[in-house]
């Protein structure tokens, strides 16, 4: 089930909200767990058991770790828990990548397993791994209540597409939570804004990307339009989904961590990754980079650590070489920035660093969205005008005019200006404008959903 769908908005969510509202406090987690399992089952019938296995595995491992804290047994249990999670992830997500790589290198013909990818597996395995590691580190106590533990893992607002929530983020709220008018209205507002970002902007940009792929016209302008559209689509899609998740969390009394902080304002790649998918960056920092020694090791090891993290980041995003290259590209740039480029960027004023970051980000997303390395190189060449194709054609000019307003609005929406403008308004004006804006957005979103069909979230493949 996706948030941006009629069944979720107008059946699942109202029913769950009602149930959570009427049941006594001691049953709220049970209701949320049941609803979350149904939510997952709706889209992934066969793999709901996988979610349960992953949850149960880390529940039992963590209890064992806590019981044998400080001993070798605890360490073995930690390794076992991580191995189970990585084995699940490895098999369902990377098996065919490994097989096809072996086939390419060794010229073998091992048949692919073609195992369907469970929705959200990259998110929930990372979530449960962080829980077990934090229990081992003594940061949190193991949760003895299976329903509470299950609620943490399966909570539907962030189950399939993040943010990656750590157990320590919501430990108290799992046991004892309440909602205030302030939080519920903020949650509703955040959810509606996220929904609008996804349905009104991201989906439309996705259509433009699809038009580029299906059109016969090969021009630089069309390629640039495609690159811009995808850059906007992925931000609005992912941040919109995070907004919805955070908003829903507030409705149920949870405070999830922020995942995006206007990343397209960044003036260095380092800053970009401090603003983009922040919970993933934080996860790799705390569970890979720092255990490897971080930047408190000799320079060569420090560079190694950066490349390990970024290779893994690339792999996390997809089981294909273009994702690995994408991750390593950022590894190279981050290393360069840390070693010398950052100092140079700081002397370049305010505009040039932005241009540098946006150029890198846009091209990296072109690489990211390609179906293969060859496709990626062809797409990048098209964007840079290296194919010898004409600059513009009938279709590219037509679609530029057709999408001009939406492109302009969505570029502005990537900045904090709309929010600052809204907050700067007198409270009396806001008291009228905010509900009107919510009504308009909900009306438009509903209109788009009723008119369209299935519009899956981009990051579902992760």
């Amino acid at each position: 089930m996706v948030f941006s769908s009629v069944p979720f908005l107008y059946v699942f969510l109202p029913v769950v909200l009602l149930c959570c509202f009427v049941v006594p406090k001691r049953f709220k987690n049970l209701v949320l767990l049941a609803a979350s399992l149904f939510f997952y089952y709706y889209g992934e019938r066969a793999y709901t058991s996988l979610l349960l296995i992953s949850s149960l595995s880390d529940y039992l491992h963590s209890l064992y770790i806590e019981k044998h804290r400080g001993t070798q047994r605890a360490k073995i249990a930690l390794v076992s828990s991580i191995a189970v999670n990585l084995a699940l992830l490895g098999f369902f997500k990377y098996a065919d990548f490994l097989i096809s790589t072996v086939n390419s290198l060794l010229r073998t013909s091992i048949p692919l397993l073609k195992v369907p990818l469970p929705i959200g597996i990259s998110f929930f395995t990372f979530q449960t791994m962080s829980y077990t590691i934090d229990v081992y580190r003594g940061r949190v106590h193991a949760q003895k209540n299976l329903v509470t533990m299950g609620t943490f893992v399966c909570l539907f607002p962030q189950l399939v597409a993040g943010p990656i929530v750590r157990y320590s983020d919501i430990t108290l709220e799992l046991e004892q939570r309440s909602t205030t008018l302030d939080e519920v209205s903020a949650g509703a507002r955040r959810f509606v804004v996220g929904l609008a970002k996804k349905v009104l902007v991201a989906n439309a940009m996705g259509e433009l990307c699809g038009l580029y792929r299906s059109a016969g016209e090969q021009t630089t302008l069309f390629a640039l339009l495609y690159a811009a559209a995808f850059t906007i689509q992925i931000y609005y899609d992912f941040s919109g989904y995070s907004d919805m998740a955070i908003g829903l969390g507030l409705l149920f009394g949870f405070h999830f961590p922020e995942n995006f902080n206007y990343p397209y304002l960044s003036r260095s790649v380092s800053e970009f990754w401090r603003r983009w998918h922040m919970t993933l960056g934080g996860w790799f920092r705390d569970y890979v980079y720092i255990p490897l020694g971080g930047n408190r090791v000799p320079r060569l090891l420090y560079i190694r650590n950066i490349f390990v993290v970024w290779a893994l980041t690339g792999l996390w995003h997809g089981a294909a070489w273009n994702f690995v290259v994408w991750g390593l590209l950022f590894g190279v740039l981050l290393t360069a920035e840390k070693l010398f480029l950052d100092k140079w960027l700081q002397k370049c004023g305010r505009i040039l660093p932005h241009v540098y970051v946006m150029a890198v980000v846009v091209l990296s997303f072109v690489l990211f969205n390609a179906s293969s390395m060859q496709g990626a190189l062809a797409d990048i060449a098209a964007v840079l005008g290296l194919t010898g194709a004409p600059f513009a054609g009938t279709l590219s000019l037509y679609y530029l005019k057709s999408y001009a307003v939406l492109l302009a609005v969505s570029v502005v929406g990537c900045t904090p200006w709309p929010k600052k403008l809204a907050l700067a308004l007198p409270e009396g004006v806001r008291a009228v404008l905010e509900p009107v804006a919510m009504a308009v957005l909900l009306l438009l979103v509903t209109a788009y959903l009723v008119d369209g069909s299935f519009n899956p979230f981009l990051y579902f493949r992760f």
């Binding site: 069944p7 519920v184 059109a215 057709s402 009396g428």
Partner: protein, 364 residues
């Protein structure tokens, strides 16, 4: 004030989240959508196998979308917002220009177009030598709407040139210079029958048959005609008036169909209120139709290979022929022609719109 704002926001959200489902529950389900010309999904049966297999959820999703309260109004909201606020030039390929609705066709589908030429040549080759064979390409609305107004479009000159070069042993009858956008329905792809006088003249003169006296037609009006583009685009455009031209010949003529037993009439206005008002002409799309004119003072016969445009043109040619056989290759396999159609000595006209030629894989 803050509390007012917060409560108002929650009230609006609650109104949508709870109000719309309640509205749906209280509204009876509809059987079909006239604007979309299709049956609507009904409430699926809840079965264990459906839940386990997932079909129940898929059907439920389709049902919820199809039976959403005021579905057409919501679709119109989207279309109007896209055009008026976002200034998009088309929505889902549908555009509005000068009060007309059109559907974009941006490029020639090489595979389908080439297949279409091959298919027509195959049919031509199987015809007896006694047949006089012609072809005419019906310009779709985009010729007069998209091309002059900056919308992407097929290269129609190239299309016509390639047809001239590719179609063998057929005489071309050119129609592109005879029409403009106003000769088509505003809300539909088809041309208006009452505006086809120049087309009828050109075709009858080219084929050497008498041109009917246009003043003999008695127009009958049917309103509202909600053309195919109206429903699909969900744009607020005034419906059309469908006009069909009758006279003694069309009144006396008998229509027989391969697919339906019994006879029928040239015009079937009782079908106007059905899924597609254009079915008024010769009862709509059918594989093989024969129209016999008992008042004809000639023995000439016409075999018309056609698409839906032919349904409104054929009645206007009836005066010139004793019998017109209409073959729709989208539904009738060309390999069966010899079993069902007598071509000997007949005039043969291939009459297809540019849209059909661009999706000619439909030909059997």
């Amino acid at each position: 004030m803050t509390k007012i704002r917060q409560w108002s926001t929650l009230a609006v959200c609650a109104l949508f989240l709870f109000g719309l489902p309640l509205w749906h529950l209280l509204s009876p389900d509809e059987e079909f959508s006239k604007s979309e010309r299709r049956r609507l999904e009904q409430l699926p049966e809840l079965t264990l196998s459906g839940v386990v297999g997932g079909e129940y959820f898929e059907e439920m999703e389709d049902y919820l979308l199809d039976q959403f309260p005021k579905r057409d109004a919501f679709r119109s909201v989207k279309s109007v917002f896209s055009f008026s606020v976002l200034r998009q030039k088309d929505v889902g390929g549908f555009y509005r220009q000068g009060g007309h609705l059109g559907k974009l066709e941006t490029a020639l589908d090489e595979a389908q177009f080439s297949y279409g030429i091959r298919k027509l040549n195959e049919v031509r080759e199987a015809l007896p030598k006694s047949c006089a064979v012609y072809y005419a390409v019906i310009p779709d609305k985009n010729v007069y709407l998209a091309q002059p107004n900056g919308y992407p479009h097929i290269d129609y000159d190239d299309m016509l040139r390639r047809l001239r070069e590719g179609l063998e042993n057929m005489t071309e009858i050119s129609l592109f210079d005879l029409l403009d956008a106003n000769d088509y329905y505003r809300t539909d792809a088809h041309w208006r029958q009452e505006n086809l006088e120049p087309v009828v003249s050109r075709i009858t003169q080219a084929m050497g048959v008498p041109t009917p006296d246009w003043s003999s037609w008695q127009p009958q009006e049917l309103y509202p005609f909600q053309g195919v583009y109206l429903g699909q685009s969900a744009l607020p455009v005034e419906p059309d008036t469908l006009v069909y031209l009758g006279n003694d010949v069309t009144d006396a003529s008998q229509v027989s169909s391969l697919e339906a037993s019994g006879g029928s009439t040239v015009y079937t206005p009782d079908r106007f209120s059905g899924m597609d008002g254009y079915d008024t002409f010769l009862s709509g799309a059918q594989a093989l139709l024969t129209v016999e004119n008992p008042l004809a003072d000639t023995d000439r016969r016409l075999i018309l290979f056609r698409d839906s445009f032919g349904s409104s043109l054929a009645p206007l040619l009836l005066e010139s022929y004793r019998e017109i056989t209409l073959v729709d290759l989208r539904y009738f396999s060309s390999s069966l022609l010899g079993d069902y159609v007598d071509f000997d000595g007949a005039d043969v006209l291939f009459l297809y719109s540019t849209s059909i030629l661009n999706s000619a894989m439909l030909f059997k």
